[in-house]
Amino acid sequence: MKRWLGLAALVALALVSAVVLGPAHVALADLTSSAIVRSLRVPRALLALLVGGSLGVAGASLQALVRNPLADPFLLGLSGGAGLGAVLAIALHVAGPWALPLAAFAGALGAMALVYRLGLVGGAQLDPRVLLLAGVAVGAFSGAITTAIVSLAEAADLRNAFLWLWGGLSGASWDTVLVMAVYIPVPLVVLYAAARPLDLLALGEEPATHLGADVEPLKRRVYIAASMLTAAAVAVSGVIGFVGLIVPHITRLVWGHRHRALLPAAFLGGGALLLFADTAARVSVAPRELPVGIVTALVGVPLFAVLLRRWTGRGARG
């Protein structure tokens, strides 16, 4: 219980600092009436919470699915697919305020479908190892096509597709918050419902089957739901690395391997990490802004390294 209270306090602190701090000066007394707070900071903070949470849950689920601690929501080719989608939208002059997010979403789903198909061994069984390899291959391939289009085309806009893809939460608005708030509950509920079978899956596929888990449909559900979360995250905020890799490990150290606790903790932890990182990105070099992915790496990796040392140290003693 104390752990949960601590995590809730952390999320609250992250939310408050994201709303109070920013490159523009807003007096504390004006916080509720300021247009900057209402139409920029609050939606951006909420989006950071939703995106960070989605990446945390997607990472935790995928690590359980492929039984590989290196699994990251973007390792399975989705960032490559999203980038290709965004670049194609610009190259084909698809206009409209939602053109880039929708194209990136479509690209990510396309990559997901291709990786899924490649991962189906014998047309029926989803082999996690093949899935990982297929993800890396599809990601590299779509990345190569993207780079080829960008370097061959003459439109300067195309270079900006890369900026967009690494752009972080700059595009946050109440519209994107609303889209995410409506969209992510479905995959989140699907994953949470799979929490107990995921615990069994961690023991290995065969033991899980003996213990009554319906392994094949489970793997498919988890893969698709986690990818849907990641695709939505990349569509509204580009590729943000390390959150989906680090947060599940940290929460696993504190909450153990039970997914019923791990998944909600990964959501809140991912949200808090991305909130702090985005606040730092906005404030630390103001009036300029850092790409938030750089901050998540700068904050997350040392934190991860410290925990890893303690973790392996404890393991050695035990």
Binding site: G22, P23, A24, H25, A35, I36, S39, L40, R41, P43, A95, G96, P97, L100, S151, E154, N160, L163, W164, G167, G168, S170, G171, A172, S173, W174, D175, R282, A286, P287, R288, E289, L290, P291
Partner: protein, 275 residues
């Protein structure tokens, strides 16, 4: 042709360390690897001497008849050498130093010109004039830009921000020639304090700096797509629809047409101020 190139490459490789080839007194076959220098070469009347350009060199229209040798960002030395130039004009950058050294090993003379600010254009015009036997024309462009820079700045008509990309929002800072053009045209860039030529900022920062007008590099006359987005409407100038569109032929790169660009921007600011 290819065999010849290979043979000459081998010959160069076998040669003991050679000094950089000297720049010819008058260059007759020039490959220009920057849009600004291509435009300058045509402007000083040396267009006939240009035998290669980059895919980005689109001004003036006559330049399009010259074969392109690549995008110029990571120069394709072989394609450049195939044009048999006696002078290659490069933009001054770290990446181009490598290309210049490679070209030197092939015995091709190079000159690297900074083209970031208006004063660079004046100097480049004089230098290219001297190298192409069009010195009077080069000097006259140089003098015109010097005069533009020395003219007393008009009273500020408006506070402006150049927004060049929306997600992430990127603006033009004080280290750029666009900032110079704005000052000369009677606008003060609200991001003049940023030393970089361009920088990523938060929308929130643009709201706080509160420009009167947003300047957009675009050949279209329609306001940019982001102006309909809710988060962008937190900016007063966006809500009021106060955009000035800057066409690429005048504003897309540091150019000898800078005086015309300044006049056009000044006029647009006056029109905007009367609204």
């Amino acid at each position: 042709m290819r065999r010849l190139l290979l043979a000459s490459l081998l010959a160069v490789a076998c040669r003991p360390t050679a000094d950089r080839p000297s720049v010819p007194r008058t260059a007759h076959r020039i490959v220009s690897l920057a849009p600004s220098s291509t435009e300058l070469l045509f402007a000083i009347g040396a267009g006939e001497q240009v035998v290669g350009r980059t895919t980005w060199c689109r001004y003036p229209a006559a330049a399009l008849r010259v074969p392109a040798v690549g995008d110029g960002l990571n120069p394709n030395v072989e394609a450049i050498a195939a044009r048999q130039p006696d002078l290659v004009v490069l933009y001054r950058s770290q990446m181009n130093e490598t290309a210049a050294a490679q070209l030197a090993r092939l015995g091709v003379a190079t000159v690297t010109l900074a083209q970031d600010r208006l004063e660079d254009i004046a100097q480049a015009a004089r230098e290219l004039g001297r190298l192409t036997a069009h010195q009077p024309a080069g000097d006259s462009i140089g003098a015109a830009i010097d005069a533009l820079l020395q003219a007393p700045a008009p009273a500020a008509l408006a506070r402006v921000a150049f927004v060049v990309w929306d997600n992430p929002p990127m603006v033009i800072g004080g280290g750029s020639y666009l900032d110079q053009l704005a000052t000369l045209a009677g606008a003060s860039n609200v991001f003049h304090d940023l030393a970089a030529a361009s920088a990523t900022v938060s929308i929130e920062t643009i709201v706080a700096r509160n420009p009167d007008v947003i300047l957009v590099l675009s050949d279209s006359t329609a306001p940019p797509a982001y102006s309909a987005r809710r988060e962008w409407r937190a900016i007063r100038a966006v809500r009021q629809g106060r955009f000035i569109m800057l066409p690429g032929d005048l504003f897309g790169r540091p150019s000898p047409t800078a005086p015309a660009a300044v006049a056009a921007l000044h006029h647009a600011l006056e029109v905007e101020a009367r609204k």
